[in-house]
Symmetry: C2
Subunit: 615 residues, 2 copies
């Protein structure tokens, strides 16, 4: 498009942003208006995208990091013919796919859900990384950010990665409109404040007037021709541009303009510019070719093997079988054992250094490109990425997360390194799957099974060795459990998983010798939970005792109760969990101090059984 | 100390780091050895600290951000005479206060627990900010970081704040030893890579050889004389410095040196250097003087008031009464209503921009200096700071967190803005208090009450208005609840809090008209939970129905079950919670779609009662 047409398109995007927000009675038109010219030039002259084929492997990828500017995005969709005006005006209505903040759930052109700021660039880095190292296609990734979100550390985590990885297929456009939600941003219209930060992280930068369509056009061209570095286009804009009542004024964030009709008239009235978006170049989806045959590692019953080791071996085997499997790690691959995968499949291994937010975001970006990522760090440090995991769930993203060094059982390193809240965090993620194996063969099977599930899948592994109790051909359906001790005379049921499962077995054997037979359930699938088996155990034994190397809230104890939340009779219950702040100590000392070792289980079981007798 | 003495002290710190780790059989001596000279010069020539009076208001503050280098810290404590050699050798033993990663719980000289990387600098920024704006004392804050942790975005969030706030009382020392846990860091020994990033964030930088004690001494002096900017001392060091078997070698992270005796000999044998640390200048603890009298806002029963508004008014009133109360917000103070505090107490209000990790870390830093911080953002965005909240709990820090815009009830903005996992996250934090008020007077009382609790306290507020149902003089003890509907004939008990409490009351009234009397409990104290009242309700009515604007995992439903986790009979139970992914819709539509409105409650209650009749 030429200058005049671009100006018209920018104006139309503003008009439609104003109209959509007015129809909804809420929304962020002023944040849309500042970026309208930036979007117009991108859509008309630089983006290569087939809206009829959003999965086209050659399509450029656009991420609206400032997700509240959704009216602008939907107005652009309309200009490109992807949606019509009637749909545009359903913005924010019940049932409309044009939500307040964009999500891919109904809109195939959205790469990732945004609305929590500072996440678009990290996900964009993941897509661009995939473009360079996995897809090896020449699509470009364009990320539109607000200036306020530059305060998020995750933006600089992403900048660091993109610069270091020479992601010249990535362009970030920063809409410096000077005003955040509450008032002025830290740097106002000081474009250089942003530019020099990006340059320090080895980016190419261009500073422009974000309402000069020719300057924008040249800047995007410069980004396209810059090799070896990502480019940041830092654009000076005005919030609410073009409507005097709101332009560059405080107090106009996140609300319709005061008089929409007047604003539309001031902007020149409704437009009917239709953009012919450039076609993507031909390309094909490129997955590494796998053997197709998953030869999972096999472990001897009775051997002592850490589940983190079994994870590493299984992931490496899965990578051999499946060309779509990739691994990301936060600079602890020697601990998580992701390094086993790295050794066999270095071309599909992504070192994220100590940057867990970027790691999860990059996994989301790669999943959006059709890859099957496994992202690993200590379970404790996945909490760093909680907001990213939450947003991945809003996206409907299919990613695998693996947290090692779970619980007090890690021993001397102390509480900063212990995953004690991870089950609570992961269970509360919508649509998640939470798995917690107790032995090596079980781990291997679950690592393979999780690859094909929907949504966020989490596997919890342990640092220390544990006895292999299952044969290598045993099956472990997700949503199942294993009854490991059972008789017709069981007085209660002990439910455990991971390290405490072994403690439970020892306790059961001790109790049995004392004439108290107990059932033991291995609850390796914490979510979904095996309701039928738990209900049967409740019916048969009347009491359940849960024991977990995790805080008492949100973990296995609560998971068990999911089986009884529908009004049916609930069994009596005792929960053993980590209720104090651990210090340093050996693994055995830790389990004992926390009251989750075999001795503690047996003592609690005896109490429960005796009380039942008294009652 | 002169050059020779400093060299000897550095050597001794290495020797003691080797000895402590050898005694423990684990630990991070090589990460300690790289920073030993940096620590020696600081301790002997620049730090002003009275180890006998760690609370001295004039003390400088030291934060070991690379917490795994704890052997170095403890060796420095020994050199300063704060602990003896026998205690040094208890490192990592059960019961020793010399944990694998330092925590303030037993060690009064530790400002904040570290061990999750990238957190020391943000907390240090909080302390330095307090020094400038609250304490108005001239203590300095020294933070020792590793190079690996520079990959964490939180470091750059902190750098941004410190530069912008001109915190020239803050010095970060980066121990660039080139090797992370798994292998080489991203930038190796490229000191300028770090220096130019800090400079871009408006810091003064000095690059030095971190084993040249004179250069270190000069660099610290330069930091002290630099005004208007924080200083970063970027030091080239060697991991494992001084012991050939490990020096600058990969694969030597996080383990004792192979032969400790030989290493000690190679380092010149045990030393007995004793450091006379400089005395702090005289200073006094400076809190703003409050009125002493808390005049909480009073709301009329029957009025419609958003709990976030009541929070803002109450916090402003609390700030008037108490000079120790400060507020921090993540650039959404107009939404959280923290702006009400800002208007009345601008000198105690801290704008953190959109940087939730920094916000929570700064709160921890201010709490370490004796202030009582309230940190606020949307409940959803507190997930961004999960790892910081977790570590604050390890520190035993006393901070108040307030999350607004809880649940689907926010309406059109959609799931990215909805706090739906916050109760699960906050309940699983060790020692936390979780409060969720349903009306304005209740909110005001809880805001005041939380200030005096121990540990992490969380208050959840709502966006929309809700009816004031309590009088302004009603009391709301933490750990209590309110029974709002009750009769001798109650067929079941509905347990709710916040927005669903009002839905529960409406449902109860409808059910009552249908001849089904139900009890209604306002569970405003989600943790600790009112066990006695819940148990009584279970005994009286047999069934509990929980309803919450939160995911089904980890929230009110699970909190209720805390009352029955000790083996006693458990009532039958139905939980209503948000089980789908919401889109955009009005608040009422959202509550209905999620099945947590009055109609859904009444329908579920009827089902439960009818089943009970059948059973």
């Amino acid at each position: 498009m030429n200058t005049g047409e671009l100006v018209d398109l920018g104006r139309q995007l503003r008009v439609d942003s104003v109209r959509a927000s007015a129809a909804a009675g809420s929304g962020h038109p002023t944040s849309s208006m500042s970026a309208a010219d930036l979007m117009a030039v991108l859509l008309a002259n630089h983006l290569r995208y087939d809206f009829q084929r959003p999965a086209h492997p050659g399509n450029d990828r656009f991420v609206l990091s400032k997700g509240h500017a959704s009216p602008l995005l939907y107005s652009a969709y309309k200009a490109a013919g992807a949606i019509d005006d009637d749909e545009l005006l359903t913005f924010r209505e019940l049932g409309s796919r044009l939500e307040g903040h964009p999500t891919p759930q109904g809109l195939p052109w959205v790469e990732t859900a945004t609305g929590s700021l500072g996440q678009g660039l990290p996900v964009g880095v993941g897509i661009a990384w995939a473009g360079k190292r996995l897809d090896r296609a020449d699509y470009r990734v364009w990320v539109l950010c607000g200036d306020s979100e530059m305060a998020e550390g995750s933006v600089w985590e992403a900048a660091e990665h993109a610069g270091h990885e020479h992601l010249d297929n990535l362009t970030v456009i920063v809409d410096v409109n000077r005003l955040g939600q509450r008032g002025p941003t830290r740097h106002g219209h000081d474009l250089d404040a942003y530019a020099r930060r990006f340059r320090a992280f080895d980016w190419h930068t261009v500073e422009i007037d974000g309402h000069d369509v020719d300057a924008i056009d040249r800047a995007y061209g410069e980004a396209l021709s810059t090799k070896g570095q990502p480019t940041a286009v830092i654009a000076r804009t005005l919030k609410g541009k073009g409507v005097q009542a709101v332009e560059d004024r405080e107090g106009q964030h996140g609300k319709p303009v005061p008089d929409a009709d007047e604003a539309v008239a001031e902007l020149g009235g409704p437009g009917d510019v239709r953009v012919e978006v450039h076609e993507p170049p031909s390309a094909r989806a490129l997955h590494s070719v796998g053997s197709g045959q998953t030869d999972l590692p096999r472990f001897e019953q009775g051997d002592e093997v850490a589940t983190r080791n079994a994870f590493g071996q299984a992931l490496a085997a899965l990578g051999t079988a499946r060309g779509d499997v990739v691994a990301l790690d936060g600079e602890v691959g020697d601990s998580t054992r992701a390094e086993f995968f790295a050794k066999e499949h270095p071309e599909r291994y992504f070192e994220c250094y100590i940057a867990e937010q970027l790691m999860v975001a990059a996994a989301v970006g790669m999943a959006a490109r059709g890859w099957t990522p496994y992202a690993t760090t200590f379970a404790a440090f996945l909490t760093r990425a909680h907001d990213f995991i939450r947003m991945a769930s809003v996206s409907g993203s299919g990613i695998n997360l693996v947290g090692s060094h779970a619980g007090v059982a890690i021993g001397q390193d102390g509480p900063s390194q212990m995953g004690l809240e991870d089950l609570a965090m992961m269970r509360a993620i919508h649509g998640s799957t939470v798995l917690y194996p107790c032995d090596a063969n079980q781990t291997a099977h679950l690592v393979a099974a999780m690859a094909d599930l929907e949504g966020i899948r989490y596997l919890r592994t342990s640092r220390g060795e544990s006895r292999v109790i299952y044969g290598p051909d045993e099956e472990f359906p997700v949503g199942g459990s294993k009854v490991l001790r059972s008789s017709g005379r069981d007085r209660l049921t002990v439910v455990a998983a991971g390290v405490t499962l072994h403690q439970a077995l020892a306790a059961a054997d001790a109790l049995d010798r004392q004439g108290i037979p107990v059932r033991v359930i291995d609850l390796y699938s914490v979510k979904p939970v095996d309701r039928a088996t738990l209900r049967q155990a409740a019916e048969d034994t009347g009491c359940l005792l849960t024991v977990e190397d995790h805080r008492e809230e949100g973990g296995i104890g609560d998971a068990v109760l999911d089986a009884f939340g529908d009004g049916r009779p609930v069994p009596r219950l005792i929960r053993l969990a980590v209720r104090t702040m651990p210090g340093s100590a050996s693994p055995d000392e830790q389990l004992h101090a926390a009251g989750i070792d075999a001795e503690s289980i047996a003592a609690a079981a005896r109490l429960l059984v005796e009380e039942a007798v008294v009652a």
